[in-house]
């Protein structure tokens, strides 16, 4: 379809036009994003990284924990070690692939948690309004008084190092941001006629929020949340990089970057590999989120 010459494409588009109208909103969004080459390429890269992380034990890789003092810091392209070895002689390819497991979890889980908490808070604040809204939103304002990196580091610094603490601190960072977005879109929807109609026909507040409002606001909140994944990946790996997240010998990209810092004079490009993985995941999520945003903006 996409390889047709321009005139043929527009003809096909014209013929398809009546059918498009019958389709639902999400089907249209899906069709639009499938046409976006950049988004599809990013989705493919992410799929590969996710699959290799999940399937790591069955890929026939070296043991990511087993090191050897005699084969430390081999260069990229060494026979048997396609991406070299790290400062303890562990296979970099295996560690990068296994590293995806923890890195992706600690990067994405905070956003998922914050999405659930922030959406609920914002929905309630926006729909109920009044004193409750003031209470929730003014509390949220306090967190906005901290730059997000500082807040994440302050909380995990106070709680101490650990995976769980780093997930908690990043969740705390993202909840206010998602709540604000959720509150503003909910406020925009709550006074619409169909909500009034639902209330007039006897629907309770919970039903209205769940059935009538959530469906209308979830899309925008979701897109906003996907745009946070990239930041979250960078910050989660950053916390591990500082020594506040994962503990050795666990393979995780941020921590690997930290332990390999001492090797930049001996084997610099092996030392830079884990960061390239973080960069790849982060940029793919950013581009995918941009693609999703424009695919959902049907007006254009």
């Amino acid at each position: 379809m996409s390889e047709l010459p321009l005139s043929a494409t527009s003809d096909a588009a014209l013929q398809a036009a009546p059918a498009t109208k019958a389709r639902g909103y999400w089907a249209t969004v899906g069709r639009r994003i499938r046409r976006d080459k950049v988004s599809m390429a990013c989705a493919l890269v992410l799929l590969l990284i996710f699959l290799s992380a999940i399937l790591a034990p069955w890929l026939g890789l070296e043991d990511p924990y087993k090191g050897s003092m005699i084969r430390r810091l081999r260069h990229i392209g060494t026979a048997g070690y396609p991406l070299g070895t790290d400062e303890l002689g562990r296979d970099m390819l295996a560690r990068l692939i296994y590293g995806g497991r923890l890195s992706l979890v600690i990067g994405i889980l905070p956003v998922i948690l914050a999405f659930c908490i922030g959406t609920s808070l914002g929905l309630v604040a926006g729909y109920v309004g009044g004193k409750l809204n003031t209470a929730i939103m003014r509390t949220i304002d306090v967190f906005y008084a901290f730059p997000s990196v500082l807040l994440a580091i302050a909380i995990s610094g106070a709680l101490g190092a650990g995976i769980l603490n780093s997930i908690v601190s990043l969740t705390v960072v993202f909840v206010p941001q998602i709540t604000r977005v959720a509150e503003s879109v909910t406020t925009g929807v709550r006074n619409m006629d169909f909500v009034e109609a639902a209330r007039a026909s006897g629907a309770g507040p919970l039903t209205i929020m769940r059935v009538h409002i959530l469906g209308n606001v979830l899309g925008s909140i979701f897109v906003y949340a996907t745009s946070l994944i990239s930041v979250s990946m960078i910050l989660a790996a950053g916390l591990s990089f500082l020594g506040l997240g994962t503990k050795p010998p666990e393979p995780e990209w941020g921590l690997m970057l930290n332990t390999l810092r001492t090797a930049i004079y001996i084997n610099p490009w092996v030392a830079a590999l884990p960061g390239a993985m973080i960069f790849a995941v982060s940029i793919c999520f950013n581009l995918l989120s941009d693609g999703l945003r424009s695919a959902m903006d049907i007006r254009n």
Binding site: A145, V149, A154, I155, A158, F241, A271, G275
Partner: protein, 317 residues
């Protein structure tokens, strides 16, 4: 204008108090005793109790907060457990270095961002726009601590042009504006500038595109205004929002410098925070975060006022 400023300042007071409360509570969410870093492992019960009352940890939390707040208002943030020196002096000295870094990065990042954003906005949907946008996306997606490492690998390890770590020759901590010191600033400043560069580019591009598609631009062009005059209108309309974004970014650079300062061993507030965390130096941790957060609140206030000064519509809103 004065009334607006007064209103903004009144609005900031509860924020400042809540920020202080969060910083105060940080120490109390720490697992275990806040004294654990100072107490010797074999300390007797009496010694522990003595220290606890010396630090005031035996009083009820609200009382502790009140006392802490009053002392903080007098500029007393306690003494660092690790060095014994006053926290405020330690933090202020380090913040100076962070400000130097942030301003250098802001000059690079904002100039690049505004230029790229204007060009991309003017030439929308052309290859120039695509190039500038890719640059911006790369800027916001790159783990900046890794970029710092890569720059060190290229410019320090391989080319040996610039120093890899520190803020001056022979590990000096006092900053001076000469080439010997500036050499140390180049890599950290470039690294810090990529995120603001990306965000400012995206903002300015969107603003320029929006403004150029508005009817009044059409009218300006129709009445025969030359393109330079149109450009001035674009700048004027984009300025308030762009300024707000840049102010926020400057705040992020000041408060979020810990990762970059760690990579480059830059002796700023982030570096101080890092050592405070790992030495479990809670007064220092608390003080550094408080000062940085207050800086951020103050900066936001300044941005609001500057925005209102440029755009009279905001005052009424």
């Amino acid at each position: 204008m004065l009334a607006y400023i007064a209103r903004r300042i009144v609005y900031v007071i509860p924020i400042v108090i809540s920020v202080a409360l969060v910083c105060f509570l940080l120490v109390h969410i720490t697992p275990g005793d806040p004294l654990v870093a100072v107490l010797p492992a074999d300390a007797s019960q009496e010694l522990a109790a003595q220290l606890r009352s010396a630090y005031g940890f035996d009083r009820p939390l609200p009382v502790q907060f009140g006392l802490w707040l009053v002392r903080a208002l007098h500029g007393d943030l306690g003494n660092s457990i690790a060095t014994g020196r006053p926290v405020l002096a330690e933090v202020l000295r380090a913040v100076g270095n962070t400000v130097t870094l942030a301003i250098a990065a802001a000059i690079i990042g904002f100039t690049m961002g505004i230029l790229l954003g204007l060009i991309a906005g003017y030439f929308r949907e052309t290859w120039i726009d695509k190039l500038a946008t890719s640059f911006a996306i790369a800027g916001v997606s790159v783990p900046h601590y890794w970029l710092g490492m890569v720059l060190v690998i290229i410019f320090s390890v391989q080319l040996n042009w610039l120093p890899a770590v520190g803020a001056g020759p022979n590990g000096s901590n006092s900053w001076a504006w000469d080439w010997a010191h500036l050499k140390y600033l180049v890599l950290p400043a470039i690294t810090t500038s990529v995120i603001p560069m990306g965000i400012v580019t995206r903002t300015v591009r969107a603003l320029t595109g929006d403004i150029l598609s508005q009817d009044f631009v059409e009218a300006l062009r129709a009445k025969g205004l030359h393109e330079r005059g149109v450009f001035r209108h674009v700048i004027k309309n984009a300025a308030p929002t762009a300024l707000a974004v840049m102010g926020l970014q400057l705040g992020y650079m000041l408060g979020g410098s810990i990762l970059i300062e760690t990579v480059f061993s830059w002796p700023g507030s982030g570096f101080l925070l890092n050592s405070a965390i790992f030495q479990r130096d809670l007064p220092l941790l608390q003080g550094t975060i408080l000062i940085l957060a207050l800086f951020f609140v103050f900066l936001n206030l300044m941005v609001d006022i500057a925005q209102a000064a440029i755009d009279p519509r905001i005052k009424r809103g």
